[in-house]
Symmetry: C2
């Protein structure tokens, strides 16, 4: 039975971290809300299902048989074990998850560059605050995070092609996505910074070139970055 | 060998979620940076240790033998398995972790009520933005989150004394801490809202009354809430 992924149909958002994992391992899945109006209604019904003993707080949500799993990093923890997207050892599993949670923190900060006051308000209603927050993000936070992942790659005793050991993990796929999104949202910043993080840049290219992910992009299934998602290009926030 | 917890010595912060788990199971641990100047230097050395193959991004950090684990939810995932702070079934483990990650999202939002622009700036330098963010937090985000956890308790088929099954999990301890901190930071808001979430309020009381946690508070080991932590009381942000 294929997995069912429930996520908003018009943005990459947090769902894309799950899609990349499913695509990279070649898992069968239905991207439910993208199957048309009935699919979108199924997503809303799931979010509002009073009969669920274990209700999700928000998408993305993955159904696997009877299991209903939410929270991106939690879904990846589950998929990591099932599809070889994480080491088998306890130490390795925890380390990959630790990196994923650090990426999740970064994703919140990226989102909040354009929504520092409230997710419920339009960007235009918090643009001044966004300018302030984005300046700190570019000057202080991005170097801290990218510098950290550069260091993790550098110290990986298995060669540094991936974050953990000698094989790609779900954290590599997620770091690819974050870097890809940063290039979209902050092209000027990334042009300035990228040289300082050559291992991160190489990882981004290495993951982009994986055959199934190339096929995914070529298929047209990958939603384009846009100004409704996490990674938004607003020229005034980039520098 | 006791665990070693590495966290800032003067705030509860994210370290407190780990401390509560360790205290509740009666695990032996050294709160390293609170053992004096040498302990603080040990924390700084760990954060700056160029020899670590798997460097942590930030505290809290738990050492267990050779394992060095960071990211609060990841530490709790580890402790949950070891000390019966989570069910043994895969479905139960994932569900507790999902709840923990939702609490982690809430903790970020709580922190950002007083630091909506940059963690590196003083509160006083982002007070106007904090007022706006805190208003949305009080009116929209807190009801959404507390309403969610109320629902989780209500739907728990094992009776609803705890979030998952019939025993406390690390997510219960963390929900206690969040509610406790909200009472400190937003007393007026909580006085207004608490009635609407009776199960959450009852859980808070139930966890507070656990013998080892009572002993922990009585011991003086629990750092008081203060205006350097996540939960800060600024009257102008409460309403």
């Amino acid at each position: 039975m294929p997995y069912e992924l429930y996520y908003w149909p018009s943005i990459q958002g947090r769902g894309e971290f799950v899609r990349l994992a499913l695509e990279d391992v070649g898992a069968g899945y239905v991207d439910v809300a993208r199957t048309g109006g009935a699919g979108m209604r199924a997503l809303l019904r799931l979010l509002d299902d009073g009969g669920l003993a274990r209700p999700p707080f928000a998408p993305p949500i993955l159904k696997s048989g009877k299991l209903i799993i939410a929270q991106t990093a939690n879904i990846l923890l589950f998929l990591g074990d099932r599809h070889g997207l994480a080491p088998r050892s306890q130490a390795g599993r925890l380390w990959v998850h630790q990196l994923q949670l650090t990426l999740a923190d970064l994703v919140v900060e990226i989102h909040d560059t354009h929504h520092p006051i409230a997710a419920s308000l339009y960007y235009e209603d918090q643009r001044d605050e966004a300018r302030r927050r984005a300046a700190d993000f570019r000057d202080s936070r991005v170097p801290k995070y990218l510098g950290y992942f550069e260091q993790v790659l550098e110290r990986n005793r298995s060669g540094g092609a991936y974050l953990v050991g000698a094989r790609r993990s779900y954290a590599d796929l997620s770091l690819f996505q974050v870097v890809d999104g940063l290039h979209y949202a902050f092209p000027r910043m990334m042009a300035r910074l990228e040289e300082a993080y050559p291992r991160v840049a190489a990882l981004h290219g290495r993951i982009a070139g994986r055959p199934r992910l190339r096929a995914y992009r070529a298929s047209g299934r990958r939603i384009a970055f846009n100004e409704d998602g996490i990674f938004r290009h607003y020229a005034e926030l980039d520098a």
